[in-house]
């Protein structure tokens, strides 16, 4: 059985799905922040519009996605050079650009479509939970600007963090594609008035 590794900090994102209003502020903020090259296919985070008709009633859901900083990250396991790695201290999954040979194995391995090839960098790029911002005491750019207050970020090891509180109070939470055994650190809940 897989056990989540222990980390000094367990950074996590808790997304209140009902509160996402598909405003795309997060996507643009992220592009600006990390100089993600222009073009629709280049992104570190994205909001999906999912539409279905249930009992004759249209249901449209907005689902923010980003790297799950998986505790069992297939992208890291397949990387032939070690460019992709997971940090021991906080579990963030990163790519070291000058070690990346652009083979894109990680992009194929990621079940969440969370990586893209950055032509300008000549390397695969992905969400870092805005690690350099965290180190300056700032929230991730997408969380900071999230107009719906849908995205929440914090350390699950801290019982007083917003993410711990949200998960504790949620009647139900889920991760994406649990069947893939990746053990994501992005959690989804349906509804909450809390934000920070």
């Amino acid at each position: 059985m897989f056990e989540r590794p222990k980390k000094e900090k367990n950074y996590a994102m808790v997304i209140v799905q009902d509160r996402c209003v598909d405003c795309k502020a997060c996507e643009v903020a992220c592009k600006a922040m990390w100089e993600v090259p222009d073009g629709k296919l280049n992104y570190r985070t994205k909001v999906l519009d999912i539409e279905k008709i249930e009992n004759g009633i249209r249901k449209m859901t907005f689902m923010p996605i980003l790297c799950n900083q998986c505790d069992n990250p297939p992208c890291v396991w397949v990387c032939p050079t070690g460019a992709s790695y997971k940090r021991k201290s906080d579990g963030i999954v990163l790519v070291t650009p000058n070690m990346c040979i652009g083979c894109k194995a990680c992009m194929e391995a990621c079940p969440y479509d969370a990586r893209y090839y950055n032509e300008e960098l000549g390397a695969v790029d992905k969400c870092t939970f805005c690690l350099p911002r965290l180190e300056s005491g700032l929230e991730p750019a997408c969380v900071q600007t999230c107009v719906g207050g849908s995205r929440n970020f914090g350390d699950l090891n801290d019982p007083n963090s917003i993410v711990s509180k949200l998960l504790k109070e949620a009647t139900n939470y889920w991760v994406l594609k649990p069947e893939d055994g990746t053990f994501p650190n992005d959690f989804y809940i349906s509804n909450s008035a809390k934000t920070e």
């Binding site: 897989f2 056990e3 590794p5 980390k7 209140v16 509160r19 209003v21 598909d22 405003c23 795309k24 502020a25 996507e27 643009v28 903020a29 592009k31 600006a32 222009d38 629709k40 999906l48 249209r58 449209m60 859901t61 907005f62 996605i65 998986c70 069992n72 297939p74 396991w77 070690g82 579990g91 000058n98 070690m99 894109k104 194929e108 990621c110 479509d113 090839y117 805005c130 690690l131 350099p132 911002r133 180190e135 300056s136 700032l138 750019a141 900071q144 600007t145 107009v147 719906g148 207050g149 849908s150 109070e169 594609k177 069947e179 893939d180 055994g181 509804n191 909450s192 008035a193 809390k194």
Partner: protein, 774 residues
């Protein structure tokens, strides 16, 4: 390179075989570069000008370049948030299509042939032209339309030139006019640009075509999302399934133009079933006794026949919302320039809210507060020789001469103008010739209905001056174009906003102007100086204006403003949080108790203060005497919308998308990534009738008018039968805005230019068009 992406939802099993590898082991740790914390060289303060909500922000600068915009988390307006448009402001700053120098027209109007001139030449040219117009026709024949933070600057020039009443803020006549007039006649208060909807504390919200998520302003939307978090019940009424519909518990696809019938029927149920808030109605309103017999005929069954919404549904909604009174709200549309009976709708909505007793109550309408700030020290404009000349000549207000509006509306129009009628006055040169026009930050070819008439109007002018940031279509017609600096390159007058949480914020340049541009205060200063009117502009640019007010502020306030970028009155009590297992009554009381101690009070009625209303009666006028005296309906009535006379013609409706503001962001690279062309939404039944398939390239046709650039048909039952929808602001025909040139179809060209008899504001949605394969 194109990368084939895997479909997101397809199950991939890559990880499962590796379940037994729980290790985090980085063997290459030594080889990695150390990560540097993020730290910009410089942070400056600003407020966003990508739309007119003006969210407070911080600007991060590295190596003399703006690298990131971020909401200022100390601001009670937007709590650190910016929307996609706000985040993309950088791409407007660095848009290489920007106006880069002053330009004087050398070709025909519309040709877009200019010569580049120096600022001195430009000032001299404008000064000469204004003088000519004043000498030949009188100062009252100068007109102005304006939109944006620079309004006070350009308006001051207008007044110094002796301009009188012929000016307009299109935000009234082209957008909120009918809504605001309806509320003014009822509550004695217009709702204004920063609406007092207390959505975050509301438990039941009915949105009448108010598309919160796409026609979006950060704080209003944030508060709306908070209501979702509180499991407030949301009912959304619109002929089109929008992203707001996606957030609603109930979406009612109403026939266009019948909203008033829906609201009157809600009132009917509230009255006949006695669901009204009696205490409130008795204490604060007049005319309920007259409403009772008036409303009898507007039954839910009748409304069903008009709106297509089931009578039972209407009854249920009326009962439900009343049960949450006063912590509930019926939100009117913001752009209420629709069918020409929009003031009736607004009155009906205002009255329905009054019956719920939600004025100055949590979850209803809050009371806005404002922090007083000193004005910049400047001489009185009335001293100007042209202003005095204008006073002697005492010319009529052209717009009022052409309309027949109730008295109270006339007063408001005197302050805000009617842009739709002003252009008509120019086109017809009636009641007297208007010979000069200034468009500041607004594009009349995109905000007027039947917009080709505007080209005709411009040709009647002796002088057309435009101040803008990009070479949009109206600049092609201008005699002179002044390039304005963007908000990231300049100071501006200090801004104090009246809102639930009052605040003051300011703007300072983050970088030097990228091109040879100036702020509006510098532009008007230059023109005035060349006319011998320099004394009225004692500051050579916005910086001087800003510091003049700032220096008059008390020191502690000033220091705080400069340190934080914003001042507000705090501490700010928290909104109700109903997400846990809490009794709502207790939650509301807790919040109200906190407000008892706060330095401002958005809920005076809830807190038992005496409140009077700025109406004829001093109370909320359900029955409006002054409308009656003017020969207008004192109680709201219903008129069915017009009908198409031909087969296979569809009503044209338009609206906004979340990532663009009006017609002013379509050249922004980041926003184009999300939305770069509009499409024609058409119902499958209609599409079948005219043999159009999803994705077909189509054009719109109306009489001799045919849209020049084909767009895709989007066949979807999200739009009701008989109606087509397009997003606003497309059909771009200025070759100088290369990123959006020839993209989309223009709503302005095809929509109607009718008006509402009570507000005078435009009515755009009475037009029928056909759709043809391109």
């Amino acid at each position: 390179m194109q990368i084939k992406r895997r479909t997101f939802l397809k199950g991939a099993l890559a990880g499962s075989a590796l379940l037994s590898v729980p290790l985090i082991f980085d063997s290459k740790a030594q080889a990695r570069e150390e990560l540097k914390p993020y730290k910009p060289d410089k942070v400056t303060f600003n407020f966003c000008e990508m739309c007119f909500w003006n969210c407070t922000e911080k600007v991060f600068v590295n190596d003399g370049k703006v690298i990131k915009l971020e909401g200022n988390d100390k601001s009670p307006l937007n709590w650190g948030k910016l929307c996609a448009k706000g985040q993309a402001g950088i791409k407007t700053l660095y848009d290489d299509n920007r106006l880069k120098t002053p330009l004087i027209r050398v070709g025909e109007r519309g040709e877009g042939k200019w010569k580049k001139v120096s600022w001195e030449e430009a000032f001299e040219f404008a000064a000469k032209k204004f003088k000519e117009v004043i000498d030949k026709y009188g100062p009252e024949t100068i007109a102005l339309e304006m939109h944006g933070t620079g309004e006070p600057g350009i308006h001051r020039l207008f007044e110094v030139l002796g301009g009188t009443t012929n000016f307009a803020i299109p935000a009234y006549s082209q957008c909120t006019g009918s809504r605001d007039i309806g509320f003014y006649y009822t509550f004695g208060a217009a709702l204004g640009g920063h609406e007092p909807y207390d959505l975050s504390n509301s438990r039941y919200i009915i949105l009448i075509g108010r598309n919160e998520t796409e026609s979006l302003h950060v704080s209003e939307l944030y508060h709306f999302a908070k209501a979702i978090g509180n499991k407030a019940k949301i009912v959304y009424v619109d002929p089109r399934y929008t992203h707001t519909a996606a957030k609603a518990d109930k979406f009612l696809q109403i026939k266009p133009g019948t909203d008033t019938a829906f609201v009157l029927a809600l009132i009917n149920v509230m009255v006949t079933e006695d669901l009204i808030n009696h205490d409130f109605v008795e204490k604060y309103t007049t005319g309920y006794d007259k409403l009772k017999p008036h409303i009898v005929k507007y039954t839910p069954q009748w409304a069903e026949s008009q709106t297509g919404i089931k009578a039972d549904e209407i009854i249920q909604i009326a009962r439900e919302i009343s049960s949450f009174a006063p912590n509930c709200i019926i939100v009117p549309p913001r752009r209420s320039t629709r069918y020409g009976f929009d003031t009736q709708l607004s009155r009906a909505i205002a009255i329905a809210n009054a019956l719920l007793g939600n004025w100055f109550q949590p979850g209803g309408f809050f009371k806005a507060n404002k922090i007083k700030v000193p004005n910049a020290d400047m001489p009185d404009v009335e001293e100007s020789k042209y202003a005095q000349l204008a006073q002697q000549r005492n010319a009529a207000n052209a717009v009022l001469s052409l309309t027949n509006l109730p008295n109270t509306t006339q007063e408001i129009v005197g302050v805000l103008g009617l842009d739709n009628v002003l252009w008509e006055a120019i086109r017809t040169q009636k009641p007297y010739p208007i010979k000069a026009m200034i468009s500041y930050g607004t594009n009349p070819l995109f905000h007027n209905g039947d917009s080709n008439k505007i080209k005709e109007a411009i040709n009647k002018l002796d002088f057309y001056m435009v101040v803008d940031i990009l070479p949009w279509e109206h600049t092609l017609y201008a005699d002179i174009v002044f390039p304005e600096s963007t908000y990231l390159e300049k100071y501006d007058a200090l801004k104090s906003i009246s809102w639930k949480y009052p605040y003051v914020h300011f703007r300072e340049p983050a970088v030097d102007p990228v091109y040879d541009t100036k702020d509006i205060w510098a532009i008007v200063h230059g023109i005035a100086k060349h006319m011998g009117l320099g004394e009225f502009f004692p500051y050579k640019d916005a910086k001087g204006v800003f510091f003049s007010s700032l220096n008059q502020m008390p020191k502690d306030q000033r220091d705080k403003l400069l340190k934080d970028g914003v001042i507000s009155l705090g501490p700010i009590p928290e909104d109700v949080d109903l997400s846990g297992d809490i009794d709502p009554k207790v939650a509301y009381q807790k919040m109200l108790d906190a407000y008892k101690k706060a330095p401002f009070n958005p809920y005076p009625i809830a807190l038992g203060e005496d409140v009077s209303f700025n109406t004829g009666s001093g109370k909320i006028d359900i029955y409006c005497e002054s409308l009656k005296e003017g020969g207008f309906d004192p109680l709201p009535t219903y008129t069915p919308p017009n009908k198409s006379k031909k087969q296979n013609e569809f009503r044209l409706v338009f609206g906004r998308v979340a990532v663009h503001t009006h017609a002013r962001t379509q050249d922004n690279e980041w926003l184009l990534e999300h939305y770069d062309d509009n499409s024609v939404w058409i119902n499958p039944k209609d599409a079948k009738a005219i043999n159009i398939k999803d994705g077909d390239k189509v054009v719109l046709v109306k009489g001799n008018l045919k849209s020049p650039y084909p767009v895709k048909a989007k066949v979807t039952d999200k739009i009701i039968e008989g109606t087509i929808f397009i997003a606003h602001g497309w059909g771009r025909f200025s070759p100088y805005v290369t990123r959006c040139y020839k993209k989309g179809v223009s709503d302005a060209e095809f929509c109607s230019n009718d008006s509402d008899p009570v507000s005078g504001a435009a009515a755009f949605l009475n037009s029928f068009v056909s759709v043809e394969k391109a």
